[in-house]
């Protein structure tokens, strides 16, 4: 573990050096992602200018859900963004071989191969949203709550990672599963709003099948008493761990299949 931490740091340092060479592009990336997020929040704001609440949730409560999703996603986007490219950057051009002849875990290598600058924009905006929303919520913030918020955000990030890893792994059999990964990732848009506004089937789906519900709604519900999901929300970290275990096991199966077909 310590070895991998050090190794990751070395990888990150070289990426940072490259990034600093292209400073303008770094800024463009960060700025665009912030604007993108800002646009969708502004949309909610515009709607709330004309109404009081949606399904019992006030503007700042929805903002809070949104902030958890954005911050969680930034973990995924900064550190694990390279999973998107598994098919077209590694498997299709045969570059995965390069990782397999190295004495490190191939998943680690794929992940460490890129540090996504634009994710920092996501992180900044996520923190801004949380900073705006939290003071407006009727909550008492102690060390325990802050600790819980951090755990929830990390869990949210891990679920994003696990889901992407799981669907990216299909690339081992079909060369490039990017369309699937992309379609599944789009489902995370559901998680922006309280799950209670959706049909029961959709709610079940987002809880038990593709658990994006745990990336935003449930973690936020933990802090908001009236949601009625306070207890259930405690399962969020468990869900995150289970997802990661399943996704990693599946990845290993994919790798094995790859080693026997060689393509």
């Amino acid at each position: 573990m310590r070895r991998y931490t050090r190794l990751y740091w070395e990888f990150a340092k070289s990426h940072m050096k490259v990034m600093m060479e292209y400073r303008i592009d770094f800024l463009i990336g960060v700025f665009s992602v912030m604007l993108e997020q800002f646009a969708s929040i502004f949309f909610v704001k515009v709607v709330f200018d004309h109404i009081e609440q949606i399904n019992g949730w006030s503007f700042y409560e929805i903002l809070f859900i949104y902030g958890i999703a954005a911050t969680g996603r930034s973990i995924h986007q900064i550190f694990f963004d390279n999973l998107w490219t598994l098919g077209w950057q590694y498997i299709r051009p045969g570059k995965l071989d390069r990782l397999l002849i190295r004495p490190v875990n191939p998943l680690f290598h794929v992940v460490a191969d890129r540090l996504h600058q634009d994710g920092f924009g996501q992180l900044i905006i996520g923190l801004i949203i949380l900073g705006t929303a939290i003071p407006q919520l009727d909550l008492v913030w102690g060390a325990a709550e802050i600790g819980m918020l951090v755990i929830m955000i990390i869990s949210s990030g891990l679920i994003f990672v696990a889901i992407n890893l799981f669907f990216a792994t299909f690339s081992f059999w079909m060369i490039d599963s990017l369309p699937i990964v992309w379609a599944v990732f789009n489902m995370s848009d559901f998680a922006r709003y309280p799950l209670t506004i959706y049909h029961k089937g959709i709610r079940m789906f987002l809880t038990w099948v593709v658990p994006y519900g745990f990336t935003a709604f449930y973690p936020a519900a933990y802090f908001i008493d009236k949601s009625g999901y306070k207890e259930f929300a405690l399962w969020t970290p468990v869900a995150a761990i289970v997802c990661c275990v399943i996704a990693y096991a599946f990845w290993n199966r994919g790798l094995k299949a790859f080693a026997s077909t060689g393509s």
């Binding site: 050090r6 071989d97 002849i101 004495p103 060689g262």
Partner: protein
Amino acid sequence: MITVENLKKEYKLVKRDPGLKGAIKSLFNRKYETKHAVKGIDFSIEQGETVGYIGANGAGKSTTIKMLTGILTPTSGKVTVNGLVPYENRQKNAVNIGVVFGQRTQLFWDIPVRESYNLLKHIYEIPEHEYEETIGMFTEVLNLEPLLGIPVRQLSLGQKMRCELAAAFLHRPSVVYLDEPTIGLDIAVKVKIRKFIKEMNQRWGTTVLLTTHDMQDIEEICDRIIIIDGGTILYDGGLDEIKKQFGQKRVIHFELADKEKFVLPASLDGQVELLPNEEETKVSLSFDHETVKSSFVISEMMSMYEIGDLNIADPKIETIVEELYNKQEQGGKHEEILANS
């Protein structure tokens, strides 16, 4: 240190009819074709050997190397490298091996070469002083100094290959697999690379397994060659032996004052073969070294024609291998593909 016993690899390919109809049909009724890429090969290589692994396109060379590195799991048979089974202990095995795939880069694409090496240092946990020493030496021998600050994607093929080679030897592995390291390079770079490989082999006793289509590489680097064709081994032995065994053919080129009037001397008839020669003043004769002496051929020619110059060609590994491939083709045992569904 490398042992391979009855090693086989079969690829399963989905057979598809062309067009949309074919694609839809293959969704419901998949037909598989089995491709026997490597059909039960055996060999063993000792520490410090330099082995040329040659064969025609599609013979199964890269497949073998992938199995030796652990990238590919064999269908059956045994491989051990340094006592490890590569595909079971891939990461452990990786510490002791270096690999160059001539067709694709192992380096980090976007970052400068120096950074790439630095990352490799950490990946292979090379001690700092050893790393400094190695890098210093490689920089000198391969002339890397001007390249170190440039990202790999901006290097030319030859520059890239030099960097690539240094990366493969950086952690002083006990075996290095080189799959077509000289493909597409100019003579000067080739010479540099050959020299480098030989030097590493001598200095560190690195075992080298090399595939190439350039026989000059083999002659200059390897002590031993393994020839594979259609997934089976045709020949395994010393470079000198193969020349002795198959290389009895000699060729002598004569420069004549007047080629127009040339006819083969009657005394040489039946023993010597006239080879086609494009040049206007030259005649090439080929004969079996065992039955006819070169001196006899030369003296017969001199007695009949005015010879300007003559040139006895060495038995080249190139010609030998070519003949071996050709024989195999004509042998006609080429039903590697067994279709089943």
